[in-house]
Symmetry: C2
Subunit: 200 residues, 2 copies
Amino acid sequence: MSMTLPLVRLIEAFQKLPGVGPKSAQRLAFHVLKQSSDDVGQFAEILKEAKAQIRECPECFNLSGQSPCEICRNKSRDANTLCVVAEPSDIFALERTGEFRGLYHVLHGLISPLHGIQPEDLKIRPLLARLGEANPIREIILALPPSIEGDTTSLYLSRIIQPLGISLTRIAFGLPVGGDLDYADNLTISRALAGRVPIS
Amino acid sequence: MSMTLPLVRLIEAFQKLPGVGPKSAQRLAFHVLKQSSDDVGQFAEILKEAKAQIRECPECFNLSGQSPCEICRNKSRDANTLCVVAEPSDIFALERTGEFRGLYHVLHGLISPLHGIQPEDLKIRPLLARLGEANPIREIILALPPSIEGDTTSLYLSRIIQPLGISLTRIAFGLPVGGDLDYADNLTISRALAGRVPIS
């Protein structure tokens, strides 16, 4: 096909993004070419700036332009409760609800022997460091996904944390709100049954 | 939500792209942050370079890094046949088939009185200039979409071109290959009926 080289490169660059196929990449490329040079330059700057400025928070390993991150430095948050998540994006999902007012700890992955990811590859050692002597943490909530890797990691963490005398819970797995029993997969229904709670 | 500013900016920048909603934008942003600084810098460069280098071809108004574009300067293409399209992306769709060996002309839009787009806003005057005295063009194929705007533009062009004694056709509209009559919309079926051809 007689496609001009800078355009081929642009389409290929977009195609490397997750969830962007050949047709979407082409549409995105043409969209960029319709923008003003200033807009495209600004987009390019935002990309480079974000990459240059955003670092892992030294306390919770959330991604932030500040160190420590906005959540860790917020004195109005409850320092007694710690929510453990797999990825920084999970923090955003939880923050959207506005329900949780404690602090976070990002593992940056889940234990997966199949993919060669061992506990020492995750931010588990820094998590234990946060639970040391003078720590104010009274409850840890594991908000890891209901998968083999999530369950393995939850089990591993519970074995380490339980002897420390800290209250340990995990988020509930079950039927999503608005979900239909008919359309739910077997594993979700199994989890919903296993996690049944008494009606008070 | 306690989201760090450079990340908010990055997510907002992605959300401005067509077909990218809030969740996709967030996923794309986190993907970028997982890349190396070099990779992100390269992506930013490709964006700026493409925008800086790609211009409208002065002959056919296709987008290209060369002037005239790769298709116009290709001597092996049939200069007697001209295919008129609405957008540069339509050229790529046609080129993918490898069926058409002539030249193109991009209108950069369609006549749409409803949106205030008049014939003079499109590349119709340069099209007529290409059909002047010494022109080698013997056939014009209108490859405009089967919509009110596409039909209006086709009609407008046909009124101008027909008096010039140039053979004028338009691409066929009808049932797509692999398409089911059952699933086709009414307009497509109407067009397929109207465009019926004798069985030879």
